[in-house]
Symmetry: C2
Subunit: 431 residues, 2 copies
Amino acid sequence: MNETASLNPEEIHEEVYAMGRQARTAAHALANLHADQKNVILRAMAGELRVQSRQILAANARDLEEGGKNGLTGAMLDRLRLDESRLESVAGGVEQVAELSDPVGEILDERERPNGIRIQQIRVPIGVIGIIYESRPNVTSDAAVLCLKSGNATILRGGSEAIHSNRAIAAALQEGGEKKGLPPHSIQLIPFADRESVKEMASMDRYLDLIIPRGGKGLIETVVSLARMPVIKHYDGICHVFIDEAADLKMGRRIALDAKTQKPSVCNALETLLVHEAVAEKFLPAVAEDLEARKVELRGCPQVQAILGGRVAAADEEDWDTEYLDYILAVKVVDSVADAVTHINRHGSQHTDCIVTSDEENAERFLREVDSACVFHNVSTRFSDGEEFGFGAEIGISTDKLHARGPMALRELTSYQYRVRGAGQVKDPLP
Amino acid sequence: MNETASLNPEEIHEEVYAMGRQARTAAHALANLHADQKNVILRAMAGELRVQSRQILAANARDLEEGGKNGLTGAMLDRLRLDESRLESVAGGVEQVAELSDPVGEILDERERPNGIRIQQIRVPIGVIGIIYESRPNVTSDAAVLCLKSGNATILRGGSEAIHSNRAIAAALQEGGEKKGLPPHSIQLIPFADRESVKEMASMDRYLDLIIPRGGKGLIETVVSLARMPVIKHYDGICHVFIDEAADLKMGRRIALDAKTQKPSVCNALETLLVHEAVAEKFLPAVAEDLEARKVELRGCPQVQAILGGRVAAADEEDWDTEYLDYILAVKVVDSVADAVTHINRHGSQHTDCIVTSDEENAERFLREVDSACVFHNVSTRFSDGEEFGFGAEIGISTDKLHARGPMALRELTSYQYRVRGAGQVKDPLP
């Protein structure tokens, strides 16, 4: 980037911290916008994305050209690419967020104490949220508008390969919004994409209340090790389906096949299939046939190999801890619900795990004992998703346990405040 | 400590990580205990504290003796000291926690989707919580039993000066509990107190879901800079009272005096008094008289000095950012509610701030715009407390915005899980 090539670490520090201060001011203004005002602003942003589509696509073309020169793979270039239709779906996404109900102002708890003070716990925005992400330029808009709808200011830091696209999208959002009263600096994009800016963001706990990294494990690990403020992590999904001895085996086949093959590249796809030994001989050949018809490679424990023979490779210890995101499935025979639970709690990633069974007691035990964000009974793991849960758009699926767990949508982008009203109550009545 | 003087960093690592693994196993067992079982365990713990009081007080005497030799101040020795009556209040505190209602299992949200899947959001324990604290040995019991009541395992790491007391208390809790079915390793105390053990805990995000540091700013800063897992911070309280132009001035005097002097050493005590210029000439001499009668030193802005004359020292910029925890009060004249809000949002610590006014509109504006965990209208800041709020015992007052904000009690020691029940739903019906 010619514009910033000359910045030294000291200058980057100054610039990022100045953005932090401005974001804090914007956040105080945003917290007091009414839902209607925010929705008018969001619709204006969607409109401006359409008005500026030529500029945005031109900026994207520049990123693609530089990416080609820099040796990005075809898959990387595809993630980076925008066209009229993808940009329209970004703009449509903004309009959808305007339709969602505003979580801010919801009263979570209300109580009056014997001394007459009235305590109200009310939902408020978090403040300033940092989003650190990789190549997809649509994240610039998706993340910023979810934060805005929930009353938060954002500081965005996208990948260097998408810098021109991200700048163009952020400019359109800010310009469109400001025409309708968006406070300045509500949405800021760090205009350079070296690692120094991540370090500065991670140190800025005075101005950033939360960082959400969106990307691969390496990115998340880096942010976690640097950040002084809370980080909500969206780690991998090593999801399990357990076919219980009391399972409807037809349903088990349907769920396993759907969870593995309907979209293997996503975090809620199936990675390890567990089968109760009492039904293994009957179930495994049938499900193997379904899966093989869809070109899924199976890797099994010795018992699975004994039943299915040479068509199954041996799974090693590492397979139980792997998120393939591909047409590969680890398969293991277990001897009880307890054994399945133990395997999942040891090897899973606390994302989404399912039991298929007709036995209510086994189902409830599994739901209670599996320590994952989402536990399913007789439902494909692919339903672990904010939209499927009815939350509207989501910013990700948290594998953390604090603040937000599982699908993270508007509600999870808020905090709360206690408002206490009285009539002059004091602890010690004065003499 | 003779027992551990020979441990090298590698051995400390092994030992702390072994405790982490054991705590994870204990947490899975604890998550499934019924409220009644936990209460029986808690009462047995209280009993055992009483049964073992001789040993606990002897251990405490050893800490006090070593502390005396190591030059601890009188105040430090007093914080460290246990006697029959203090120990009885620790045991009584455990029984009180048994009386509180169990947050685990509460259904937070329930919904059925058009496709028939039923989604339940249910409160579950967090898992394993690390508590890192300083000299008061009662924290060993207070923190462990709040965590236990909410279904969590704890790893405790107290200050070196209280190590014998802490060991004796933790042993009594564990022994008393295990007689009634407490899973082993539910409450573990790190048996040595060097800094290496804090580093190991902070790195152990696989086994520790949360760290809560309880102590001074230095301790919290250290934990924040090292921790890979979420940390909930209880930083200082730079609390404000703002006397509006429409205040009942008698009420204002009463609240200011109570907030400053009823117990100056705590985080919800008043540190800066803001007075609207329209009432400053009338209010300041009166409140100064009250405060001076209680030996409070005033430090004022130039306008305050002009009104009160030589009895008031000049406040400098640092005074607005200081938590005195002492009989000192900073006083400033402001020209509007907006001016008060700006001062508080810039200099406060987002803990607890109060407006005294009879004007509803000013009150609501203040409550809405002050970005603090607790905002009060006509109530002394000293009521910012879990027990005063009706939550029962609290583990602290969080100055964070994520997960827990303000008084942090049992509810805030839990997470949630989505339990989803269906009838074989898949995303793509198979061909």
